[in-house]
């Protein structure tokens, strides 16, 4: 299964200064090392696994590198061309490009092709090709013109290049040995008005498979024979559609594609009209989207693939995305299909594809997917034969103002509950969220809150909702979601926690938060006197009396402080309400722990203090519960304390403010252990008592009783 791993950047700043970003990325003779050629003056040798440059070479001010540097695999030297005609050859030891070997050629160089095992080949802008050795032997030799005047080379692969001339594309295949040149006209197929945006090609035994992505968003494949059967000039090559709608059809530039292997291609470009650039991996065998990654900062429309790394200019920096692909199978391809929909196509709702019938989203699907979706739709339809979606409301959502939507929504919710209420709510939320994404200013908060309160939504039904709320730091909405959604992923829970801990008290003041899980802390403050007594003997825990050696002495020095500390809640009631929502949410320890590590230390301390405070409150009464309508339970509190300490122990241990807290917790655990060991000792006595008790109940071995049967 294809998978994109976490990206990392190679350079900060330096690159991308030129007008076209990066000229090229080429492999060097050592694995893991790549030559990156800036479009202005610089060539940098990177070691990818270390993410650091090994060497950097620049041409003089005023000179411009015109062709990406390559490595001569036979000699280990690097070759670059600047100012179109000047060839430079150097190696790792050289420091200054000015002082290295230089050859001035008679014609302008288009590109140097270097392939493992062969000598580099220099391709000139007029189409001619020369071996490097032959060229260096006689730099000023005459270079013939191969392509006609006005034709421009658009793309080239060592023995093969494509030219553009008067609206047509021509492919040339050059047999280097024979100097034979075959010319093919690429036919555009029926969609004449589509412009081909980018090419890529790979050699497959006897054929060159030329893949082109055209402006209608589809990928086409043309097969060009390597060994031309006849020498007749100007043969025609027909292209066939390979993938449908892999990128948005109105994107004009910034689209790149590269072949990853026989079955996979990577496409860089926006998936949807509105969406940002996206790197997507497609399986061409099964025509499925394998995986995709959104690149919101934009790309330069360049994509290279070497080894297991995809290189691209993302934002202003050169980014490497490691890519792994196992042998694809139909099952694998289908298994991932669901995921691909999630990641790639936002217009498709996550639960049922009702929209397809309402006319959006389907057009941009590839045939395989749409067939599948249709099948799925059929299934759903057969389950619920009549689906009268309140289309009016949906169309309102698309265009009208927030107020208007709210009015309409209220009408809709007030209407009679229908069997397909769930799906309609889902539609509406999807619609609203879609618009939220499209229009950053649009945030129909009241509508969303109303919808959440219908108790029909879950996280998986509207995953975007919480993200938007997180973006807007809408804590009220988040609290509501935490209450209502049963299936919030741990990462989101943690993100909520982060916001709840970091949001300023003053901004909390204005927000209306559901306070039912928080009891009134103020009344406990009044009973200061009671609090000062050595508290909590519940569960054998008494912070004052436990004999905990050195720690305890320190604490004993200021027992007054300790008592005070426990009496006041470390957070405001509003924040407490938010944190309680977190405590109530479901989680799985394994998935939560890594996210907890990202929370800043002072917030961890604050949260721990709050939890400890809750624990102390808990242990004030015999039932070990907190007052209030829906308070966190003792086990929730303890679990979270353990989780936080597990995740951040090394950090918390270093913070002076947390010291007292840790000591208290330590003492608590220690006393707990001693209680249990005492219980173990008592168990034996208990058993004896039980035995005695049994003997009392035992009516002896023989008795005569009276029995009446009814």
């Amino acid at each position: 299964m294809a998978a994109l791993e976490e990206e990392f950047t190679l350079s900060v700043g330096a690159l991308g200064a030129g007008p076209n970003g990066v000229l090229g990325v080429e492999p060097s003779d050592k694995t893991d090392q790549f030559l990156v050629t800036d479009s202005s003056r610089t060539v940098i040798l990177y070691k990818v696994s270390d993410q650091k440059p090994l060497g950097s070479w620049s041409v003089k001010q005023g000179q411009v590198i015109t062709c990406p540097a390559v490595c001569n695999f036979q000699t280990g030297e690097y070759i670059v061309v600047h100012d179109n005609k000047v060839l430079r050859i150097w190696n790792n030891e050289d420091v200054n490009l000015d002082k290295v070997f230089k050859a001035t050629l008679s014609a302008e160089v288009y590109r140097i092709h270097s392939i493992q095992g062969t000598e580099p080949v220099v391709q000139f802008k007029e189409g001619a090709v020369r071996g490097l050795e032959a060229l260096l032997a006689e730099p000023q030799q005459k270079i013939e013109t191969v392509i006609s005047d006005g034709e421009v080379i658009k793309n080239a692969l060592s023995i093969f290049f494509i030219t553009f001339f008067h609206g047509s594309y021509f492919a040339y295949v050059q047999m280097f040995n024979s100097r034979n040149l075959s010319k093919y006209t690429l036919l555009l197929g029926p969609e004449e008005k589509c412009i081909t945006l980018n090419f890529t090609a790979y050699v497959d035994r006897k054929f060159i498979s030329l893949m082109s992505i055209s402006s209608d968003g589809c990928i086409y494949e043309s097969l060009i024979p390597i060994y031309p059967s006849d020498t007749e000039k100007n043969q025609r090559v027909v292209k066939s559609q390979l993938l449908k709608a892999v990128v948005s059809d109105n994107s004009r530039s910034g689209i790149a594609l590269t072949v990853l292997d026989r079955d996979h291609i990577a496409v860089l470009g926006p998936l949807m009209p509105a969406s940002k650039d996206c790197l997507s991996i497609w399986n061409i065998k099964f025509q499925t989207l394998q995986t995709s990654k959104e690149l919101p900062q934009g790309t330069s429309g360049q994509l290279w693939y070497y080894g297991e790394n995809l290189f691209m200019l993302y934002g202003k920096v050169l980014t490497v995305i490691p890519y792994k692909c196992e042998v694809s199978s139909l099952a694998g391809a289908l298994g991932k299909l669901k995921h691909s929909q999630d990641a790639g196509t936002h217009t498709i709702p996550h639960f049922v594809n009702w929209e397809t019938s309402q006319g959006y989203g389907l057009g941009s699907q590839n045939s395989e997917q749409s067939r599948r979706i249709l099948r799925r739709k059929k299934l759903e339809v057969s389950l619920q034969p009549e689906v009268p979606v309140s289309e009016q409301l949906l169309s309102t959502i698309k265009k009208d103002s927030e107020k208007h939507i709210e009015v309409e929504l209220r009408k809709f919710l007030a209407a009679k509950w229908t069997p397909d209420f769930h799906t309609q709510i889902g539609d509406i939320v999807t619609g609203l969220l879609g618009r939220c994404k499209a229009e950053p200013s649009f945030y129909p908060r009241n509508c969303l809150i109303q919808l959440i309160q219908t108790h029909t939504l879950s996280y998986s039904l509207c995953s975007g909702l919480m993200e938007i709320a997180l973006e807007k730091t809408d804590v009220q909405m988040l609290q509501l979601c935490l209450h209502q959604f049963p299936d919030i992923p741990e990462s989101v829970t943690c993100a909520c926690l982060k916001i709840f801990l970091s949001i300023g008290d003053d901004s909390l003041q204005e927000i209306n938060i559901n306070m039912e899980s928080v009891f009134d802390y103020s009344d406990t403050k009044q009973d200061e006197k009671m609090e000062e007594q050595p508290e909590i003997l519940q569960n054998g825990f008494s912070p004052e009396n436990g004999n905990c050696g050195n720690f305890n002495q320190k604490v004993n020095e200021k027992p007054q402080n300790a008592a005070e500390e426990t009496t006041s809640c470390p957070v405001t009631p509003k924040r407490a309400a938010l944190l309680n929502a977190i405590l109530h949410s479901a989680y799985s320890e394994v998935f939560l722990l890594p996210h907890l590590k990202d929370i800043p230390a002072q917030h961890i301390t604050l949260f721990l203090q709050y939890l400890y405070f809750l624990y102390l409150k808990c242990s004030e009464n015999a039932t070990m519960t907190l007052p209030g309508i829906h308070p966190p339970t003792l086990s929730q509190i303890m679990d979270w304390i353990c989780l936080l300490l597990d995740a951040n122990f090394t950090v918390v241990v270093m913070i002076p403010e947390a010291k007292r807290l840790l000591i208290n917790l330590y003492k608590f655990v220690k006393s707990q252990i001693s209680v249990y060991s005492e219980l173990n000792k008592i168990e034996v006595s208990f058993r004896e008592l039980q035995k005695l008790n049994q003997e009392k109940n035992n009516r002896g071995l023989y008795s005569i009783e009276v029995l009446e049967l009814f």
């Binding site: 219980l679 173990n680 023989y702 009783e705 009276v706 029995l707 009446e708 049967l709």
Partner: protein
């Protein structure tokens, strides 16, 4: 219904021997269980888990291994070094063969059932060929240096795995040589134990060997390479037993802590073909060591030192929620160990190697329901009669007049005459039992104590005339030609004219004692008979079957009675049918022929045939006395089944006279108190 004085007896100091081995036979759906005293019991799982056969134990025969081979032949082997085959028809030991390898620790039949493999104390593994009426030693495998405690055949019968001390060997069956030796880690929680005993091995068809050992580990080995593949530490104590399902998709292990663990082969992820063994369910039905486990297609079966046989159905394998889906715990034998002399109010208790005779106490007081009456005389232990020789007692009986006691072991029948002189008892053995009377499966006295009926294991029934101090053989009913099935239940009519006898599978035969001929045969029923009795006056034969059905058959009319037809037509109450212990004793009220008294381990019931039968809507068991309801209502709700669940576990219940009952209980706590202490587990903390 009436008021009874109940002699509530709890001094029957019976402790069932612990379970040593269990062997499940898929073909007949029967389970063989061997106990520490050498007793072997056969349970019919299809017949409501009824213990239909048993082979009495023997002091010198500690059974260590039990297996089915060649279809339904049952073999056992033990520490006396002998291999035994049991005759399941005649209910005796067919033969015993010394394997000459010292004590035998393990035995297993080949997948085809034609060969038998035993693992001996001297480290030898011996292969026996099973012939139609014997077994023959074939050869030895390579001798190992310590005892072979467990054996398992590869399903293709090409290799075997043998667990020993500290290592597991894999033998090639053809050459008999050890091809792999896998050393088991002695480490136990970081501490090196002295020895690691491999208590059980299982060889799977893919070449995996699963071992369980004394360090608490369940380990998976690759027999091809001899490497450890996976190890589960499941217990702090020994893991003592393992059994694999036939499909090899699940297995069960039993630990010394009384826990059994279910392991299942499950997909790593849903719809992935890669599977792995996962410990799925722990069950804690035992307090002591689980010495033996078995895996039937639908249930996990376990037994051990705490003497319970536990049958835990796998809910995913049970299709309908019927009574088979319930957990079964079988503790007491499904036969009567107690007989009583009504006239003299004596109880005779049968133990493995002795008999105890007790006289019940008396009281002059009266009381109301639930009262415990003050005793004017306590119960007396009159007699402790030890058997001679190592054999266990099969059956025993005291005559209704209390002056005769008879019991039988495998090789001899004993008859004693008792004389009561005030408080002294004079016991005199009646010598010169006839030579043909070698062993008896059931002994019965006639109501007037003049006749003795003996069911021998050859299928014949002998009648003796009892005289003062001697006896006379009157007649022998020979079994139906061709059948050798042993009769194990007898019933005599109070007037002494009729004798009913039932075997394990065929119908009930009724003999006319006066004319000494077979009177009739009650049609055979699918389920085995658990109890038989003939009613006074009417001479109706009441038969209880293991599926909880009760039939009443009129002997004089040679047909089922009207009442029996009625109840069959209407069907028993569903709660009656759902009881899980068989009826082990039936008796009658001497003055009220309409009443039948019967009991199982958890209830006793008086059936009043004059009252309407309960249907499924009526409350079957109503322990509360009617208080203020009107008499009309009471009459309307009254039904034929009067049930009491006060006495449990109830081993015996009988009517001494019209107003007196005797109930013998054996509280489980008293049994547990006599068992060795279980492994102590911490209750608090970790």
């Amino acid at each position: 219904m009436g008021e009874f004085k109940v002699h509530r007896v709890r001094f029957f100091n019976y402790v069932p021997p612990g379970i040593r081995c269990v062997a499940y036979n898929n073909q007949s759906n029967r389970l063989a269980v061997s106990r520490t005293d050498g007793t072997v019991e056969i349970y019919n799982l299809s017949a409501n888990y009824f213990q239909e056969k048993f082979f009495p134990g023997h002091e010198s025969r500690a059974t260590e291994a039990l297996c089915w081979a060649e279809g339904q032949r049952l073999f056992s082997a033990g520490l006396n070094g002998e291999i035994l085959e049991y005759d399941l028809q005649a209910l005796n030991v067919k033969y015993a063969l010394d394997a000459f390898g010292g004590p035998i620790w393990s035995m297993t039949a080949s997948p085809s059932g034609s060969q038998l493999l035993v693992g001996c104390e001297d480290g030898s593994v011996k292969l026996f060929q099973i012939t139609p009426d014997n077994i023959q030693f074939e050869r030895n495998f390579d001798r190992q240096k310590s005892r072979i405690l467990s054996l398992s055949w590869h399903p293709s019968a090409t290799h075997i795995a043998a667990g020993s001390i500290d290592y597991i060997s894999v033998f090639d069956v053809k050459s008999g040589s050890a091809v792999r030796k896998m050393i088991v880690d002695r480490q136990y929680m970081g501490v090196s134990k002295r020895k690691c005993i491999v208590w059980g091995v299982a060889f799977l068809s893919d070449g995996t060997v699963i071992s369980v050992d004394s360090a608490g580990k369940v380990q998976f080995w690759d027999s091809a390479t001899g490497t450890l593949v996976k190890s589960h530490l499941i217990s702090n104590a020994d893991v003592q037993s393992i059994a694999v399902a036939d499909q090899e998709d699940s297995f069960v292990v039993g630990t010394a802590e009384g826990t059994i663990f279910h392991f299942q082969l499950v997909s790593v992820t849903s719809n992935s073909s890669e599977k792995q063994w996962v410990r799925t369910k722990p069950f804690q039905h035992h307090t002591h060591d689980v010495r033996a486990v078995a895996h039937s297609p639908t249930a996990l079966i376990s037994g051990g030192t705490d003497t319970h046989l536990v049958i835990r159905p796998l809910m995913e394998k049970v299709e309908v929620k019927n009574y088979d889906a319930a957990l079964r715990k079988i503790t007491f034998p499904h036969r009567c160990l107690i007989s009583c002399s009504k006239k003299k109010q004596l109880l005779l208790f049968q133990f493995a190697h002795h008999l105890e005779l007790w006289r019940l106490g008396s009281t002059a007081a009266t009381g109301k329901n639930g009262d415990t009456l003050p005793l004017s005389k306590n119960a007396d232990h009159l007699l402790h009669l030890k058997t001679k020789g190592p054999e266990n007692i099969i059956c025993s009986c005291i005559s209704p007049c209390g002056s005769w006691i008879a019991y039988s072991t495998v090789s001899r029948v004993f008859l004693y005459r008792l004389n009561y002189e005030h408080d002294n008892i004079n016991l005199k053995r009646v010598s010169k039992m006839p030579a043909f009377l070698r062993s008896a499966l059931q002994i019965m006295f006639s109501e007037d104590s003049k006749k003795l009926f003996v069911a021998s294991n050859q299928g014949s029934l002998h009648i003796f005339q009892l005289l003062e101090g001697s006896f006379k053989h009157l007649h022998t009913f020979q079994p139906q030609s061709g059948t050798v099935e042993a009769m194990c239940l007898l019933a005599v009519s109070p007037d002494g004219n009729w004798l009913a006898a039932s075997g394990t599978s065929a119908g009930v035969h009724v003999y006319n004692v006066k004319h000494l001929k077979l009177h009739c045969t009650v049609p055979a029923y699918n389920f085995p008979v658990t109890a038989l009795a003939i009613a006074p006056i009417t001479n109706n034969l009441v038969i209880a079957h293991s599926d909880q059905q009760v039939f009443e058959y009129s002997i004089p009319e040679k047909q089922y009675t009207e009442w029996s037809r009625n109840i069959q037509k209407q069907g028993f109450h569903h709660l009656w049918l759902q009881r899980d212990t068989p009826i082990t004793h039936i008796s009658f009220h001497p003055k009220r022929p309409m009443h039948i008294l019967l009991h199982d381990a958890y209830m006793f019931c008086i059936i009043d045939k004059s009252l309407p039968l309960p249907n499924d809507k009526t409350l079957l068991y109503n322990p509360l006395p009617p208080t203020n309801e009107s008499d009309v209502f009471r009459r309307r709700t009254a039904h034929a089944f009067k049930i009491s669940k006060i006495y449990k576990p109830l081993l015996f219940m009988d009517l001494l006279d019209e107003r007196t009952l005797v109930a013998v209980e054996r509280p489980l706590d008293d049994i547990i108190a006599q068992l060795p202490p279980p492994i102590k587990k911490k209750k608090f903390g970790t």
